[in-house]
Every structure is written in structure tokens, then in C-alpha cells.
Subunit: 299 residues, 2 copies
């Protein structure tokens, strides 16, 4: 899984920081997460193929998370996208899109299937690549985070089978690398010493939200956690008023649920330099990185 940051600002864009958007690449299929104004330009800048986007996930209907959607949809249509696009979002985004299409006499020439989120933990999307669950967050309007799970089929080696067949370490390594080994004139295949297993990679995208105990149960064992960190903890009052989180609070969530890595983003325009936000989080959860636009995180 590869996650590319397209936008990392909070509601007011600042210089080279743009409103929220990310693209998750799983087996060369793209999943767009939020779509703030300018997402189309950022996809162009980073040479990401718009028409490979299979589904779009919108956390909530504050403008900095969806104002780029109409421009993206109409451009995809002009660029001859023809296969279905799925849009997962809170209710009534369809009304906003339909009204604008009606008034401007715009026809989007590919089918859109809308899936509505509700304020509960539930599976909202599944394809051969990924399964996505919503996580209800705590913001000014109904907002859901998303958990993206990818299951990889793998094999689990069975120690008891190795002992039973009296295989040497060299023979085991041959079976793993070639798929088989010859033992006493018999083929011993990987199937003889393993069972099917599934390995999971998991990414959670949580924005916008006050830090809240309620969602921590859903975000255990993550490979990557993106948690909004709009403010420094010195500005906690503003975070409380606007229902956002501080870098310290995001790191405390990470400390509690122990993802492999924490990404922080949704930075307020009041901060020119983002390093104080990073350091504040790293003091609590060392493996934290800034969601800088254009960066790609592989996991």
C-alpha cells in the first residue's frame, strides 16, 4: 500500500499547503480520501492518473474536504472515464453534485454509485483489494474516519510438519524458495509443510476530530495512523472550540493504540514552520512524521 499526500492544510490553505486529500494506491488501483479544493491540480502535479481512481471516501461535508470534487468529476468525465466510480460520504453529497450538474447542464458520463456513511463503526466498502470501515469521530458535523484493510494471502509454515517429515533447515529453505524439495525420492511441496494464512495491512485516516476515547477500540494494530493535528497544544483552547486535535493529543492516541507509524496533518495556517508540531508529537510517539504534500508512504 502506498499513500501519497495531496493536501495537508486545515480549512484555510497556506502557501504550498492545500486542503485535505490523499491517495491510497493498492495494487495500482487508486482510492482517494477526501477531496479538498485543488485536488485535481495536485493529482496533475504529482502525475497521478485520475481515471484510475476507483472510489472516493469523504470524511465529512466541510468544504475543505470536498470542494475539489466537482472539478475532479467533470474532468474525469471529459477525460473519458467510463467505469463506475464509488463515492462513500455522509448523506446529501449526491444532492450537491446533482444540483450543480442540473444547473450547469453538465452530464457526468460515467456511473457514480453513492454509499452513505452513518455515525457508527461499520463496513462501508469492499472489493478484491481492500475492505473499508467507518469510525465515528467527534467534530462539529457528522464525520467519519476510515480504516482501510488489505488482506494478503500468505502461507504459515507448520513446525510439526517439518518435524514429522524430518526436514533439514536446508531442505526447508529450498521448499520455501523453490516451492518444493526432494526428500527420500519424494517431492515435498510447500503445501505439505504450510497452511493458508492472511496477512493484513491496515491504514486509518482520522480527521477532523477532537481526541476521544470512543474511537480507539477500532484502531488497534495499525500499520499507519493518520490523525489530524490542527494545532499545537499551546492552542488547545482553539482546538476545543473548533473540535480539532493538537499534535500532543494525536500522539497520545498513537501511544495508546501503538500503530507502526503516526502521520500528522490538517495543519492550521497559523503555523508557518511545522517542526514544532512534529517535535511535540515525537516527544510522546517517536515514530511520527509530517504529512507533507507530495510525500508517499509505503507500508
Amino acid at each position: 500500500m502506498k499513500l501519497t499526500i495531496l493536501g495537508s492544510s486545515s480549512a484555510t490553505p497556506y502557501l504550498d499547503r492545500h486542503p485535505s486529500s490523499q491517495v491510497l494506491n493498492v495494487n495500482d488501483q487508486l482510492y482517494l480520501i477526501d477531496c479538498g479544493e485543488g485536488t485535481l491540480f495536485r493529482l496533475n502535479n504529482f502525475r497521478i492518473k485520475k481515471n484510475k481512481i476507483k472510489a472516493i471516501f469523504i470524511s465529512h461535508l466541510h468544504g475543505d474536504h470536498y470542494y475539489g470534487l466537482m472539478g475532479l468529476l467533470t474532468t474525469m468525465s471529459m477525460h473519458e472515464k467510463s467505469d463506475e466510480l464509488i463515492i462513500v460520504s455522509p448523506p446529501r453529497l449526491k444532492d450537491i453534485i446533482d444540483l450543480q450538474c442540473e444547473i450547469s447542464k453538465t452530464v457526468i458520463r460515467f456511473p457514480i454509485r453513492y454509499i452513505e456513511t452513518s455515525m457508527e463503526y461499520s463496513e462501508v466498502y469492499k472489493d478484491s483489494n481492500i475492505t473499508v470501515h467507518t469510525v465515528p469521530l467527534c467534530h462539529k458535523i457528522d464525520t467519519c474516519g476510515f480504516i482501510f484493510d488489505k488482506n494478503f494471502p500468505t502461507k504459515r509454515i507448520l513446525k510439526e510438519k517439518i518435524e514429522e517429515l524430518k526436514l533439514s533447515p536446508h531442505e526447508v529453505s529450498q521448499i520455501i524458495s523453490q516451492g518444493f524439495s526432494v526428500k527420500d525420492g519424494q517431492n515435498v511441496t510447500i503445501e505439505c509443510i504450510s497452511e493458508d494464512n492472511v496477512t493484513k495491512k491496515t491504514y486509518a485516516y482520522l480527521t477532523d476530530t477532537r481526541v476521544d476515547d470512543s474511537y480507539q477500540i477500532y484502531i488497534q494494530n495499525l500499520d499507519l495512523l493518520y490523525h489530524e493535528s490542527t494545532f499545537l497544544h499551546a492552542d488547545i483552547k482553539r482546538a476545543e472550540e473548533t473540535k480539532h486535535s493538537t499534535a500532543k493529543e494525536a500522539a497520545e492516541v498513537a501511544k495508546a493504540v501503538a500503530p507502526k507509524k503516526l502521520l500528522i496533518g490538517h495543519f492550521s495556517a497559523r503555523y508557518i514552520d511545522l517542526m514544532p508540531l512534529l517535535h511535540e508529537a515525537q516527544n510522546i510517539f517517536p515514530n511520527t512524521e509530517l504529512a507533507i504534500e507530495g510525500l508517499t508512504f509505503e507500508f
Copy 2:
């Protein structure tokens, strides 16, 4: 009057070209003309103060001319704009804005007065700075160009008064520079040898449109004409299908109505290099320039 180009692309943005938007500065009051996606970022980039925008003029409701409006309005509101904003546009833009505010529970904290355009030549806006008329254009949906007139109070010197008062050229030049001269012991003021007059500066913004004789009668005696030139004339077929103009056609309009300068813009993403568009227009109307983003034209 100073015109700054914020966006010059047609519907599909290309690299550093963004959808249509311009800002007209008249006596330090700002008038925004169209507001494609990313207008907010461009205003930031060029350090233009958003909250000095007094009125916004939207030519038509294709997205590349208004998708930046919601982001701009909500940001102006967050930046504590409090005085009235006037939005001149085709009907139902208010519906689009109101629906999004309702669904996202967003309150725009300054009053907006909507003025609806209709498909006729008429005065739609007037303040102490400027008067604006609509010009019906020929596009896929109802579209109006805008003519911005600024009246400067001036004085017209009356030759017969100079002869009557037997003033020497030196005395006349003294009156013009100082406001008066002494002739035979009498004060002769500027008022004695002049009458009030009005000088006009006029800018016309015409996009999107097929070239059409119908609007030429409204755009005589311009200081500056912006005429869309989405295509090269080699692509006239595409221009006809999409109801746009070619650079050659825009220049032919300019040749017919003789503005002091022609600006061409709304460039298709198919052209990486814009010089062929410029040369095509200059062959017919030499004083043509490209509407390059960030450039300011004073007139």
C-alpha cells in the same frame, strides 16, 4: 484600472494554468471576474487581499468559472469579512451556495446580495467607481460577458474662451498647471476657460463564446478587450462543437471593434506552448497579448 490574471485555462487545468479568474482593481477596490477552482490559492499567491473584493461577476455556471467560489466565500468569512459582498451571476448560483451551507452547517458571516444576469445587454451593477453592463454571448448555456466602465471627471478646454479672453499660450499653460492666471489685474481660473467633461476607461470580458456579430455593437471604444481564444484556428471544428472561439476569430473581433489592446485567454490544455495562439491573433490584430497568470495590465 489594473487587471490581474488569476486563471487562464479552459475547463481542464494544465500545469501552471488554472481555470478562469481575474481581478480588476479600481481605486483600490477589487472586483473579481469569474472564480474557477483555485482562485483562493491564486489570490494568496499574488498577495491580493481577498476581503477587499467588493463584487464578484460570474459569466456562466460551467464549473471552471465558479467552482472556486465556495472556498473563497468560506475563507473570507473565516477572515472576518463583515461588509456586504455583491455576486452578479446567472440565476440559481444562490441555490448552489445555500444548499452547501445548509448541508455543511456553514454560516457565511457577511451579507451577500445576489444580482441575476439575463441574456440581454443591460446595466447590472453600479457604484461610485464603476458601471457594469452584461453582454449576451453565444455558448452552450446562458453566458454573459461584462463591460466595466470607469468614468473619470476631467475638464475640456474651450478654444473660443481663450480667444475671447485673449490669453497667450503661456497664460493658458499657467491656468492649466496652477488652476489660474492673472490677466489685466483679474484672476482667470480654469473654470473660465473650460467645461466639465468625463473620460471613460472601458474593459470588456468576453468568455465563453463562439464568435458572433451580435455582441460587437456593445464593445466599441474599449481600452482593453479580453476575448476567449480556447483553440487555434486549425482546431475550428472543435471550437464549433464546444461553442468556443479560436485565436484568429478573437483577433477578427478585435479588428472589427478596435480596442486599444486585445488579451486572449481560456486556453485549451491541448496547447503546451501558447505562442502559436499569440502569433495567430497578432497576425490580424497586432496589439494582442496572452493572459498569463500573475500578469497585471494597467490601462
